[in-house]
Symmetry: C2
Subunit: 136 residues, 2 copies
């Protein structure tokens, strides 16, 4: 998550965050590289509502400059998820994925049991270790 | 996430959040039912640092009282995850689960292919539809 040509559009124009905050965008603005003039203001609005501008700035400042783009993206994602779902936020996504993992683990077990059963029925022999102990 | 006997311990003692904020805990304190006097202060410290007390209060107030316990738990989880991992926060958990889902999906496909292969080798017949089309 980075702006192609810095935060602002035209030279001197504010980045998306400063545009939202209606303030002058300083040369060293911590938000500018990550919140573009175009769509950054809407993204920053979510961050402002959920985390607050000051907390978000502190959060970015405590991360190495090379990691700030990722941090800005994940904070934006969390903020937008919390606005969509005020009870669970992005934890709803975690619950859904945990459910999907449990379902898939059951499917793997079932399919492996079926391999073993088919092999036993076919040859009366034992299934190969690879057939039953593969992965999981 | 709820305190067994309200937020404070002894009557008149502050809940975990108010203890952290060093303020009097009002009867209608929005944090009290969810941040116990015992371990609530440490949990609230993370929330205070990441979201700010005022944003957290607003967030709980906009949720129906019956859902606030879940909201407090997910906000606490997000705050603690962000302090542990300032770049990715709880999104690191989402990435790990997405990776696990991809790995399991591969295992399911592989096991199903093996079932089909074993059945074909055994009887020369087609595998039953259930063997190949079971689940996702």
């Amino acid at each position: 998550m980075a702006c192609s040509a810095g935060g602002g559009g035209a030279p001197g124009s504010p980045c998306g965050a400063c545009k939202f905050l209606r303030r002058k965008c300083a040369a060293e603005c911590v938000f500018a590289p990550h919140f573009c003039a175009e769509d950054g203001a809407a993204q920053f609005a979510a961050i402002h509502k959920v985390f607050g501008a000051s907390n978000a700035a502190k959060l970015l400042q405590q991360v190495a400059p090379g990691d700030r783009s990722e941090a800005a993206a994940t904070v934006t994602y969390e903020a937008q998820a919390r606005l969509r779902d005020p009870i669970y936020g992005c934890v709803a996504h975690i619950f859904a994925l945990q459910q999907q993992v449990a379902t898939l683990q059951m499917q793997v077990l079932k399919a492996k049991a079926q391999v073993a059963q088919t092999m036993a029925a076919a040859g009366g022999g034992k299934p190969s270790p690879a057939a039953v102990a593969d992965g999981a």
